[in-house]
Each structure stands twice: as C-alpha cells, then as structure tokens.
Symmetry: C2
Subunit: 267 residues, 2 copies
C-alpha cells in the first residue's frame, strides 16, 4: 500500500483504506487485447494480507506458474508471499517467503547450480540503501545465501532506490534483468542489468540511462506522475519481449523490447 | 551499531566510528569469574561487517556451537550472520542468514518436526511494529515459513519494541524464551514468553511485568541508562539458569534465574 495513495487516509493515527488491492486475471490471445475477469482472482485471506496484495511477478518453473506478491497489513508491514497455479483458476497460497519489510521479488525461471534463485528488496533504517539483493533456495520456500546485488547510484537515473522488475531473461551473454529505479524526484524508470549466467550475483553490466521511462501524457501525469513500474513480461522467443507496466499508478500499459538492442546498449 | 553510541560521530552526513565492535572470548570454570581473551576472537572480515559485529547468541546443535550475530555496514545496513565452531578457537563463517534490517536472532537447540527453528526481528517502515518473528529451516542457512510471533503491547513494559534474548529453554510446559523489550522511555527489560513445544509459533503465556530490569546504579545510569539486554544463558540443568546481560551498554553482568519460578509467574 502506498500511504500517499488517495485510497488511503488516516484519522487519529489509524490508516483507513477505501479499497483493498487484489489480483485479477486478464487474458489475451495476442498480448495486446485483454479481457479482464469480472471478479477478483486472488484476494487477501491471511492476517498478513489485510491491507491488500499487489505487485505480482509470475515465473513458470517445473510445471507451475509461481506468483509472488507483496502483502500488506497494519500488524506486520509489507511481506512477500508466494502462490502457485497450473491454470490461473485455482491457486495454492504457500505463505510468506520474505519477512517485512521486503518486496520486489522475482524468481529466476530455472535452477542455477542446483538451486532456485530470486531477487529481493529488503528494507533498511539508519544505514544502507534501498537496494536489490539476490538469494537462493532448495525448495522456493526457504531462502538464504543472501548477497547484496546493486544499490542506487548517485547522480544517475537510479539514484534513490532500485528493485527488480519481472523475471530475468536468459541470454547467451548472461541473465538480463529489467529493473526499476527512482531518483530523488520520484521519477521511476526501468533499465537493464546483466548478470553472470552461472554466478548470478556477479554484475556484468548496468544501464547508464533508463530504457523505459515516462514519455506519454498518461505516464507523465496522473496519481503518481512520471512513474513507470513494470512487473510482467512475456518472452516471445524470437528476440522480442512484451513488457507490461503500470503508468502513473493508474493504467496498465504494454511495450515491446528487442533483447539484442538492450544488450547492445550495455556494451 | 548504535548511532547514539559515543564511539560513533557524524560529519556532513557521514558516520565515523572511533572503534569497531568484535567478539572476544571470555572463559570461566564457574560461570562467575571470567578471563577475557587478550585479543579479538571473531572479527569483521566481510563487506557486510565493515562497521562491526555484535550481539552474539550461541546455540549448541548437532556437535557445533552456532554463533549468530548482527553485522553492520554502511552499504548494507544491519544483517544477521551465522558462524560455527567446535572449540571457540577456530570459527567457520557461514554468511548472511537474514537480509537487512534484521537482528535479534536466536536458534532453538533442537529440531521440531524435523526442522530447525529460530526467532528473528525484521524491520518495518510505514506499517507494522518492531516485532518478534519465528522461522524454520532444513539446513540452518535457508530460512522460511515466517510467522509473526509477538509485537509490542501498549501500556506495558514492552510497548515499543520486542526481540529475542538468548536461545529458548525446553521445559515440560513449553519453550521458555526470555525476550527483551523497551517502552517509549527506552527502558529495556527482559520478560518471559512460553511457546508450544510442538508448534512453537503458538504463544501460551507472556509476562505482564518484566523479570529482569535495571535496579543497580550501574544499570540505571551510564551510556544507555535503564538498558538491560541479555544475549547469553547457560542452563545449569538443575532448574537454574545463568543469564548474561549488558547493563547500560557499558558492562556485562550475570544473574541467576529459577525456571520454575518464572513458569509460575506466567500462570
């Protein structure tokens, strides 16, 4: 939940929401035209989900679509949960995989050195920065071997905070991750990160300029102006990626991305 | 690191330390008279330890003494690390087990339902409280199945923040954990928590009054007045516990505790 969200207001120190976030299925044959389900698909049901669930990332692993999402509650803050489905009709909730405050988790689509991997974005108070970490797991539920991956860079487009986007894409050059970042003006963009294929905690390259940023009027204006935030992608398999992102926290938009062009931009 | 610590000072927004915390072995035949090693025993060596390591908890499991501790750095904030030793002469560092900010971790001395267990104390920003969580693991390195355990209670001695003390003690009535807490006046005390033996995320009882609190002049005055913070205990096996705690962040003190008396206080 964003406390600056007009859906939220506070009275005598208590936060009230005028709506509760949930996840709803949108289906499409071409990735361009979508039908949004008439009713919610995945809804808050647990004590740690009382203020809503949001920002899902989906990774297909071993026959399941794993959906991780942020769950918010007054008691526990912001945690990351995992659920899985085979058909997007019935879901199995697997509980909290990262304790508060932790969000912006994306699972890698395959094992590396026998382990599952993910990005995550823990929270710090006095020291440290809003940074991307990488962790691994034997079972997708217990996570460890935490390593600091990247932090903000002063003076650049990602100077204030960084966090993962959708699942990383495997390329011959390395794992390609489109991550999001904001600067001190709360401008959110996406740029690329290239990680070693076998040792994914090793950063090979990182965008000096953002790749996806607010340009259209509906991106530059609105509830959260100049905020581009992508959570989903579909790898077309022909070197083209369909990216899905939120614009100004109001709309869901699509973009296409040429993988080789992004890799070339990192040289 | 405590930024209010006189060892720390800041200049133009940068924190400087006049000393770096480390762990040093103290040995004793009777638990009362100690010889402190002339040189540091466990010292910062990793990028996440550059500002020091502190607040160790030690649990004996499967032939090893597992030492978990807080590690602090400007880049990463406060993480919890794990090390192990058989002899307190050589240590094996096992890396970060909880990403930032997370401290106040204590391992249970035995498996429950085939899994290892621990308390931990993650950090929240806008929502939630400074609360104790419980997690479990197959291997002591990857942690999951996170559950909220207890939070602060308004109007009581633990109104502001809570975190574990040393390893929990197994009693016929349940797992007995002496936890620390502070109120809004930054008075730190210890009280008891009784957890179900087989389902340790279930709280059976909790102290309404603190059990260990500042009384002596050296506890009520000093660098951090009225701060009692216990990290270590030795179970004598005869119903008596030796507790070791920091007083006013200046001294290390000892106390004895009668297990049955504490259990009776919880009824």
């Amino acid at each position: 939940m964003n406390l600056f969200d007009p859906r939220a207001f506070s009275h005598k120190g208590v936060v009230y929401l005028t709506s509760i976030s949930h996840l709803r299925l949108a289906t499409s044959d071409d990735g361009r035209h979508f039908t949004v389900a008439a009713t919610p698909t995945l809804v808050p049901s647990e004590p740690h989900e009382t203020y809503g669930i949001e920002d899902p990332r989906i990774t297909f692993i071993d026959g399941f679509y794993y959906v991780n999402y942020s769950a918010i509650s007054a008691q526990m803050g912001v945690v990351t949960c995992l659920a899985r489905t085979r058909d997007f009709a019935s879901f199995e909730k697997l509980g909290i995989i990262f304790a508060p405050d932790n969000k912006d988790v994306a699972l890698f689509p395959e094992r590396i050195d026998g382990r599952y991997w993910c990005f995550h974005r823990p929270s710090v108070k006095q020291l440290g920065s809003v940074a991307m970490w990488i962790a691994s797991s034997d079972n997708l539920l217990d996570w460890g071997r935490h390593r600091f991956l990247i932090g903000p860079r002063k003076g650049l487009w990602d100077s204030e905070r960084v966090g993962c986007g959708a699942q990383p894409i495997k390329t011959p050059q390395g794992w390609l991750q489109l991550y999001h970042a904001s600067d001190e003006k709360v401008r959110y963009c996406s740029g690329a990160l290239l990680l070693d294929l076998k040792e994914p905690w090793k950063v090979l390259a990182r965008s000096k300029e953002p790749i996806l940023f607010a340009e259209a009027p509906y991106e530059k204006e609105g509830m959260m102006p100049n905020v581009i935030f992508h959570n989903g992608l579909v790898d077309r398999g022909n070197g083209q990626i369909d990216l899905y992102y939120g614009a100004a926290d109001e709309l869901t938009c699509g973009a296409t991305m040429d993988v080789q062009a992004v890799l070339n931009s990192l040289v």
